[in-house]
Point group: D3
Chain length 245, copies 6
């Protein structure tokens, strides 16, 4: 039995539930998904400010988890923080932005991303640039709806995602579409039904890649970038993460 | 039960056997590996000329396979031909060069490749460039030994691979090492034992990624690059592939 | 007297004839053009699958040519196979995709390409990326007509090419237009007449560059990428190429 | 009177003092430097983990500052967090990594960076890549000494920095050297004295650029990437930053 | 008192006057701006030909200046010649194209440029490419009006600049706008008023950066690219520059 | 009869003579080479300063040439000025730096450049970057000898060039060597004899490419970058070029 922790970046339990279901849909029957919600942080993550707050909330959630686990999925599309987890863990860590992009690269020559708010598209672009995959990305489009409004009017949401996905394929030349937002129930099916291209859900893909790395016996290199932090004083840190540094 | 065809690019059965074992080591118990050897083509593939011949040998082997399968692994490190398979198949196709690189990107900030002959390093570089992953590659080094000599003197081979892998890590800054050659039994263990970095075997990684794509219900986009070829005359083609175009 | 072999990638003699005329239009009076049609392979090359089949057809045609020659032109726009020829030949080999692009770079700051089917544009992009010239390419557009239909309705063909070339110049900023398809009689003149930019025919350019390399006493480097293949068994190969490996 | 807040990323007051002095050395007499030390966080920042913790410590320090200010300098070389400050502030924010690189670009064709620990060089590379300046960077070298040991043995430190700077110039082709570490008193003078190239201190450069942006009447664009975060619940956040989101 | 020479690239005094005012608006009260007009050369610089003529006119103006100065601003947007000044001077030299781009990078994730004639946009692109900042540039647009006509009908000019700036922000994703033309009084204010993004005037930014480099005690590296020219014969040179080589 | 003007960038007639011979060695018997020496300018061009002076000397020489010509070769390796000639001429203009690189790309996967002074290597890199060919360049090395000393001690010169060319091939992976300096009699033969790779002389290659463009009926695009300069006042210009602007 492989256990994969899937960590939401916001503090909204309903989003965590959708993420958990997506992760479960991606893995084998022998893999257990444990979905975590940070104890603190913003209700949704839609800015650089919130992204940086969420990074410590995610760290706190993982470092406070009481149990064994074999891999971690960082379920923030475009969010920072994956590297911090890699430093302090010995199990593999998979970011959903990168998982979606790597998976899409196996399916088509170029991929596009549809996300929620327009203002988050630059951060997604930054993550892809750092991942070295920006050259395969045909475009990043948004429906320009806040994350927590997506569930409020599902019909509008679905229609907007389908429309932007269509433009990625028809105008930008994307051959695969990545859904750039965790926690959008129903959108995946609708986009896949409307367009004749593969649609990649980052959470499902990341959970599967995490399971795969465990199966291959591979984990994060500790050679340089992600070596364990040196033992040192962490002064006045009010969060759990402070003790573990 | 998922069936993954793993196709050797050369016509040497002993290499196919090693590839099959590597692929089996990478997949779940519920996945069946079927390893194919082309009916014709070079005994080893170490040049652009042989690479292009092997592409049709691989096509012929897959098109002539009498049975059901869920995914294909193209087991030529640096070889051409993955795109051709994607055109004619509806199941996912994974190339071992790209599988190794994508997997390595999940494990460290940069990776290096060790391969057999020096003259094949440019072709590997080309595959990584087309895959958009050249920016994450810290170096491609070779032991400069012909593929079919690798097994002849295993001690020399292993020592040479360890030495080049060490230089990738210490001189080039690679944090992960990819073995850039299918069919090198024992090398993986030796390099992993000698160096404190993850070592990725392309065949095992590709087989696992192929299984994962099947599990995720994803396959090659037919939107543009890999659309099925239009029906047309193929004149005088002496190979099986000719009938299927 | 310099002899340049110009090899069509498809098996349609009418296309070979047009290619031969284009090549002749590009070279000096003292250069002889010999145009070859592969003995086998697809009637037109419009997919990765067909491109890989054509590569061995082209190899077979050149290796089976009974006569002396000083250079070879690989006349497939966007097709693979140039590198394989370079391995087995000592005379220079020029690919028409690259010839068009290099020539265009001498004439303007950026160039565009108009080709036949939309699905072939990614492969052209890949060839330009490998050639290092993607940065100078302002766009690749297609008329989205099958190669063998181009001659059927010349007026429609010419109009479509002119329209896409105009968009390359006016919308994409191309200063030079490359015709990305061998064997389109009349199109060159029409586009050049309609637009006030240089129009480069890849076949004519490649034939001239091949002649120029011969005149400069230069040929393919055998230092690494294109070294002759090592002597080895080629098993069960039904084509002429097999004996020469 | 212009006031520039200069925020240390670690919680070591002695480092803040050195940073403050460096900042003062860079600005006009009419600019006031106020140096802040985060209330919590690691004593030194030398890993991705610590970098992400420091980002919220820096946010907390700035958001808790009781007074007027015209610009902020984020004084972590290679650290994350600049974007988060830009979201929540209307005054300009300058990161010392980027300030050093932009300044160096005005002085020579390529620059190099010398930093403390080897493991921090990839993070510096990432910051330069996101800044679009990686192409001007000839190399990033380290003395491989922990930040807090640098002051312990100043002679060793200075000698090590001079040696690595010399290699940047002589082996890597750097024409300008950036000191990739805040808080190294004496190093700047020593390197500048030993080598005949400009030596850029990131803190001084950033303070001067911050002052310059104020003088030019320019501040962060709020058009997209750095728009103010939308008002929303921040649950259970134990830090000051929580209230301001 | 710091003295900054600001050199117009054309021979039109009215343009020099506007440039001088822009430079003065950017610097501290303690910095003196001296604006120079070349003795010879074109009345406006709008082609590569004129750009190369202007380079020697600028050299002549600076080398003929009778007085002390601490820095030089090369006030040609997209023009060549900055490197030549750096060779022969020991004080820092700042080009307005690069100054605008570097400054814009501190204010937003991507910037756009609006310039006068369409035909000058490629040269601006070349300068940004050489500066390593092309990746941060979202677009270069022109109003397609000749430089010397800009003042003739200020209302038309302003409206055209605002329109193109708006398209940079709304269509191209620019978060900051650079005015790509020296000597356009009134345009800066109008664009800044119409759009809610920072607007960077290259002359003001360059003058401020020049002052800043002086304040930081930094000047051009003489290590390689900009080493002083070796003493040698300059034959028959009719310009002042000839004596100083 | 095709006439190609080959313009030296320096004012040393002996260098012009060597250049003329190299050009003649590259072209057909039916092409006439006319070699020009500028009336003024530096005796050798080894800095950005001299490069910019030479650009107007070259313009003056071409504009003052009394006769018909079909193409122009700009014979400065790494020098600026090609674009200025393209603006004012309707015949094709070929730069030797670019001609060498384009030719080398047809011969091997990567090329290297050997030039005279180390300080000129950055300018060569800039020309290759603008040409879009930097990605194919494995290295630029220098013998670090002044241009006019190269002929003084031919044995030392030849030995130094061979040594650097060997390092390009063996250490940098170059498969083709370009001689990055006009006017080095004997070096070409020596390097070609010592190393088993193609050696490209930029002058011969450029002359041949110029002849080829004429033969193909192609010339510079006037669509945008190289449109003729608008008629305007050129004030006080003491050179011939002034009248023609």
């Amino acid at each position: 039995m492989t256990t994969v922790l899937v960590v939401n970046v916001n503090t909204t339990q309903a989003v965590t539930d959708v993420i958990a279901a997506a992760a479960r849909s991606g893995v084998s029957a022998t893999t257990r998904i444990v979905a975590l919600t940070p104890r603190f942080g913003p209700a949704s993550v839609e800015s650089n400010y919130e992204s940086h707050l969420s990074a410590v909330g995610v760290l706190d959630a993982v470092q406070g988890f009481d149990g064994e686990f074999d891999a971690v999925v960082h379920a923030g599309f475009g969010e920072v923080g994956r590297e911090a987890l890699q430093d302090v863990l010995t199990v593999p860590v998979v970011d959903i932005t990168e998982a979606a992009a790597h998976t899409a690269c196996l399916l088509g020559r170029s991929f596009g991303v549809v996300t929620s708010l327009d203002r988050t598209t630059p951060a997604i672009g930054d993550r892809l640039l750092l991942a070295g995959l920006a050259g395969r990305c045909a475009g990043i489009r948004s429906v320009d709806l806040p994350v927590l409004d997506l569930e409020a009017n599902p019909e509008v949401t679905v229609k907007a995602f389908v429309e932007q996905a269509r433009r990625l394929v028809e105008e930008d030349g994307a051959e695969v579409v990545c859904l750039g937002c965790a926690g959008m129930a129903g959108v995946h099916e609708a986009v896949a039904a409307a367009l004749d291209v593969p649609v990649v859900d980052g959470v499902a893909a990341a959970a599967r890649l995490a399971e795969s790395l465990v199966g291959l016996g591979l984990s994060t290199s500790k050679a340089r970038s992600y070596a364990p932090p040196r033992a040192k004083d962490v002064r006045g840190w009010p969060l759990r993460g402070g003790e573990a540094g």
